[in-house]
């Protein structure tokens, strides 16, 4: 028994000793790609702090010589970025609430209540996973315009909620399946009806799903462009992507303030990513692997 037991972590270590130089090459390759991924963001932050003279002069890629915070001031005041940010936040939060509410209720009916067509109903909702937003854009536009909802927050909240629904139900189904059925029965014996079981047993235990669905929906809505450009033309209701797009169109020659606007649009996402990177990655995986 001279041979040591091989476990998972031993294997790569053993290889590292054998293939030292390929390992270095791999690291160089990985670092190179990391730099390529980071460069546009690095560049954005540096030119957001520069004056046009610096950007168009000798200092195209370096760190700013004079840190021009006034670019950010201009993006916020003249560029209206605060308003766009508020709009995006409001639309996203309300969408998440509606999606979650509708999804958890529907999932409860599909997975916990006993009726004939619950499997068919689930399959029906899952159809939504494959439907591109293109499919609905013309009818939605004409209908929204007829009922006078174009250029309101609802013009985005309602379509976003509907298009996030299928994925939300899919994610909730996974989480609700983990709640033991004994709990339902115990609550039933204690005299709870279906609503009582839903409110007192299921809802409190669905908190983990709330974060996954919330993150997924947030990422869907926060960056959405097609609906947002088509349904919103008034400046006061524009969300971040549309606002940034129209700002960039207006001030093509002033790179500094535009850079600041781009940075302001990106910072919230990056902050959320720093704190929730694992959950964000998991919600993407959940979305793809099951879909």
């Amino acid at each position: 028994m001279t041979r040591t037991k091989i476990n998972q972590s031993d294997i790569p270590v053993a290889q590292q000793h054998r293939f030292k130089w390929t390992d270095v090459l791999v690291q160089i390759g990985l670092i190179l790609w990391a730099l390529i991924c980071l460069f546009p963001v690095y560049w954005m932050f540096t030119f957001s702090l520069k004056s046009n003279e610096e950007i168009f002069g000798q200092n195209v890629m370096g760190l700013p010589q004079h840190w021009l915070w006034s670019n950010y001031e201009r993006a916020l005041n003249v560029g209206n970025m605060g308003r766009y940010f508020f709009n995006s936040l409001l639309v996203t939060v309300v969408t998440i609430l509606i999606t979650l509410g509708a999804a958890i209720m529907a999932t409860y009916a599909i997975t916990r209540l006993k009726w004939k067509f619950h499997k068919k109903m689930n399959a029906f909702f899952m159809l939504g996973l494959t439907i591109p937003i293109h499919a609905a854009i013309v009818p939605l536009y004409t209908t929204l315009s007829r009922v006078g909802l174009l250029n309101t927050y609802w013009a985005l909240i309602i379509p976003y909620s509907a298009f996030s629904l299928s994925m939300a139900i899919l994610i909730c189904t996974g989480f609700m399946g983990d709640i033991p059925y004994d709990l339902d029965e115990a609550a039933f014996l204690d005299g709870c009806g279906v609503w009582g079981i839903f409110c007192r047993v299921i809802l409190p235990l669905m908190l983990p799903a709330v974060s996954t669905v919330g993150i997924y929906t947030f990422l869907q809505c926060w960056n959405e462009l097609m609906f947002a450009t088509v349904f919103i033309s008034k400046d006061v209701f524009k969300t971040l992507p549309v606002g940034v797009q129209s700002l960039s169109g207006q001030y093509t020659t002033e790179w500094g303030p535009i850079g600041a606007a781009l940075a302001l649009a990106t910072i919230p996402t990056l902050i959320v990513y720093v704190f929730l990177s694992k959950q964000i990655q998991e919600s993407f995986i959940a979305g793809a692997v099951k879909g």
Binding site: C37, L38, M105, A136, S161, L240, L270, V289
Partner: protein, 292 residues
């Protein structure tokens, strides 16, 4: 067991919010799109039923030139499957072999996926800027002045210039899916192969890649249907220009709708896109089954 009416009513009530949203915003509009695609309609008055004339016009009209748009998205789909996915797979394989700084790399590679396409598009517009952009500056400093271009304004290179950021942005997404798949493998599989004397390359080739086949299938479907539907980046970078060289079906659709008020024809493109995505998804599923 017969259940009381109130029980059924409750089931209905639980489903109601989701059903209203789903039927009202997804299912009904799809049916309406289907109908509109068979009409001539300027968005005001009533749609006039004209049968399949829109479809005929779509594929024959020189001014719409749908074939150029389809060629562009097919090129994107092809590059996506042949370059982006293999590269993502390579990264995923390397990262899953206990590389130093694994989680950092993962986080950095995935970051572009989270940033709005508008922001990324605007950044690349500035990278491609003919006078002050990073790309031309870099080329000039390397003495390659003859390589500099008006990247987004030259109809011969504009499509290529649009493809780069799109492919770049989503490498991390596919990498993450594949990485998750590889990490989900039972470790015994790898160990057994290692004990049998397989090199890491052989393990990847014969154990890992076959194991994550279902994820590769999902990735290919996403890459292809995502390419067909692509809109955001093109809209930001060129909006189909210069001289329609970078037109894709989605930009054509939006422009027909809102510049020319052709709601019928816009719907026709939408229906065509849905059908194309569906057909490709089926074909890819079929291809992955066949080889097994």
């Amino acid at each position: 067991m017969r259940r009381p009416f109130s029980y059924k009513l409750n089931i209905f009530l639980f489903l109601l919010p989701a059903l209203i949203l789903f039927l009202g915003v997804l299912i009904a509009p799809i049916a309406m799109s289907g109908y509109y695609s068979l009409t001539e309609w300027n968005g005001l008055g009533t749609p006039e039923f004209i049968g399949f004339q829109n479809y005929v016009e779509l594929f024959t009209s020189k001014s719409i030139n749908i074939m150029r748009a389809l060629k562009n998205v097919m090129l994107l789909a092809l590059l996506s499957v042949c370059i982006q996915l293999p590269f993502a797979l390579l990264l995923a394989l390397k990262l899953s072999q206990h590389v130093k700084g694994e989680r950092w790399y993962l986080a950095i590679y995935f970051m572009p996926v989270l940033i709005s396409s508008v922001v990324i598009g605007q950044l690349w517009i500035k990278i491609y800027n003919p006078e002050y952009g990073v790309l031309n500056t870099l080329l000039r400093s390397l003495g390659l002045d003859s390589w500099t271009r008006i990247w987004l304004g030259d109809k011969n290179v504009a499509m290529g210039a649009c493809l780069v950021p799109i492919l770049w942005q989503y490498v991390g997404y596919h990498m993450l899916l594949m990485y998750a798949g590889i990490k989900g493998m039972p470790p015994e599989l790898n160990e057994a192969a290692m004990l049998d004397g397989c090199t890491p390359g052989q393990v990847s080739r014969y154990i890992t890649i076959p194991y994550i086949r279902p994820i590769l299938r999902v990735s290919v479907i996403f890459a292809v249907t995502g390419s067909l539907k692509s809109f955001d980046m093109i809209y930001v970078l060129t909006n189909g220009g210069p001289n329609h060289a970078t037109e894709v079906p989605s930009t054509l659709m939006i422009n027909l709708l809102f510049l020319r008020n052709r709601y019928g024809m816009g719907s026709t493109i939408a229906v065509m896109l849905i059908v194309l995505c569906f057909v490709f998804a089926l074909l890819i599923n079929f291809a992955f089954k066949e080889e097994k």
